[in-house]
Amino acid sequence: MATPELEIGDLVHYYGRKKVLEIDRFEVYPGESVVIFGPNGAGKSTLLRVAALLEKPTSGHVIYHGVDAWPGNPLSLRRQAVLLLEKPVFFRGRVKDNLLYGLKLRGVRPQDGRQSLEEIVELFRLGPLLDRSPEELSAGERQRVNLARAMVIKPRVLFLDEPFSSLDAAFRDELMAEFHQIRRKTGQTTVLVTHIREEAAYLADRMIVLIQGKVVQAGKPEEIFAFPAHPAVARLIGHEALVEGTVVDQQNGLLKIAIAGQFLYALGHRFPGERVTVIFRPEEVILATEKPATSVRNWFYATVTEIKHLDKLFLVHLDCGFKLKAYLTRPAIEELQVASGKKFWAGVKASSLLANPCYSRMKEPDQNNGAK
């Protein structure tokens, strides 16, 4: 296996008396896109600053291509990484001056710099913006210039702190796709931090879930999304309802699970007699006034207990012997006349449900060691 570009080992970091990071092992291999995913305050940005050698860890190793950075933290090693902060900030001068900033710091000869600049300008389609002042650019253009400014340096590892979070949803998707393509084309090794699951799923070759300063789960995004190893991870990736039951039958990966005197069908590799936690995404639960004849395997007669108005949707809390939640749009709420106390049939496909090892036997991340 190739030598990792970056290795972090036995890292512990404190702010005052508060332990904000405790990472046993974290590696980044050449060409990889690693996404550090976690809620706000998990210590993601701190981990990036420590990994990019901008902050000295309280203890532990940060190793670039076999060379431990501390205690010396030589400039030559620090220059192998580039970190883009969450808010794009620009230096006095034109877009072009900003794009060349990192190369000039490294003493790159003007003719070599010009070639790198031309390449990156073409990749990010920045030609018309070169002579403009960064202040004149839109938010999307600013972030493109920001990304190009880092990638033109071709660092060993590029660290990005929530690079798309300040953009509108439409711009975000567009720029994310553009960045993803360019990253693949250039083979740039990247470590990106985000708290948005779609961003993590789209950009990650490998995902690290960080909660309270600790790595709770690591793996390919599809693995993490399919089998969250921890209730906190499940909640983080949008599984709102967690129901415990016992597997009574298993055929070809389809499990029959007894829950609160009812049977439920879900996917998973568990065995009869095993206690499991079944996880639901509220967006996959549907409501009907009468039980329809469909291919949906799971139907439960449920009472509406609460309706919460979210930004664009309503979150309907249901009681069907166990707790369930469903996202509904306003027209759906009006059409079905959903109200507290009314009864509905709640349906969810077996393929939308996942049965994982019983979460209630797992420990929550240590609250006392939480990140700031």
Partner: protein
């Protein structure tokens, strides 16, 4: 009474002493301000308070301290600098330094710290960080230079005390104006005052043009 032919050396010495004092104090104040910006150390607040107190120090008091130092029996008396242009330069450097150090530090503080962190995260060395900060705080620093030049070119107490207003040697515009006013030569005093104002305006115009270079007026908010 001063003859017109004697005015040129006075103008020249005024420009030389004020200009040199401003440049030298800027060169001395900038590293101090950068050090105060980047380095946390015990007593940093006390140093800053002392600089701010120094900004309000009457120039004549500076003159007194310099005179005490350079007086024949003083610690630096053996250098024989009292009543020389060099003594005036020393006093003016001290007067300009406290203004430039205080205002430059304030100008550096105005720069978004995220920008400096981003510079570091893009690979800037210590020196490159300082240069970036210096570039970003350009407007405020030129204001500091303008304020310092204004203070030294119009200063009279300290230069009179340590320079002695010796004709053809340490006489500058301010001390000449004082002398002619005392002698009742008001018309000449007024001419000298106008020359001083013109000189001050010319230098400030140059510095302001440099300061405003690249600032686009359309980006500024309008009254209309």
């Amino acid at each position: 009474m001063i003859q017109l032919s004697e005015i040129w050396p006075v103008i020249w010495l005024t420009l030389l002493i004020s200009g040199l004092a401003t440049i030298i104090s800027f060169v001395l104040a900038l590293p101090a301000a950068l050090f105060l910006y980047f380095q946390e150390f015990p007593g940093r607040k006390i140093v800053l308070s002392l600089i701010h107190t120094g900004m309000g120090l009457p120039p004549v008091v500076v003159g007194l301290f310099v005179a005490l130092l350079l007086w024949r029996s003083g610690p630096l008396g053996s250098l024989g600098l009292m009543y020389t242009p060099a003594a005036m330069l020393i006093a003016q450097i001290i007067i300009a330094w406290r203004i430039i150090a205080g205002l430059t530090w304030a100008a550096l503080q105005q720069v978004d710290p995220t920008l400096i962190l981003q510079a570091k995260a893009l690979g800037a060395s210590r020196l490159q960080l300082a240069l970036t900060l210096f570039r970003e705080a350009r407007l405020g620093q030129i204001s500091a230079v303008i304020a310092a030049f204004g203070a030294v070119v119009s200063e009279v107490g300290a230069v009179l005390m340590v320079g002695g207003n010796i004709k053809g040697y340490t006489r500058v515009l301010t001390t000449a104006i004082l002398q002619e006013t005392r002698l009742g030569n008001f018309s000449l005093a007024i001419i000298l005052a106008l020359i001083l104002l013109g000189l001050s305006f010319a230098v400030n115009w140059l510095l302001t043009s440099w300061q405003q270079k690249g600032t686009k007026s359309w980006r500024l908010p309008s009254w209309k």
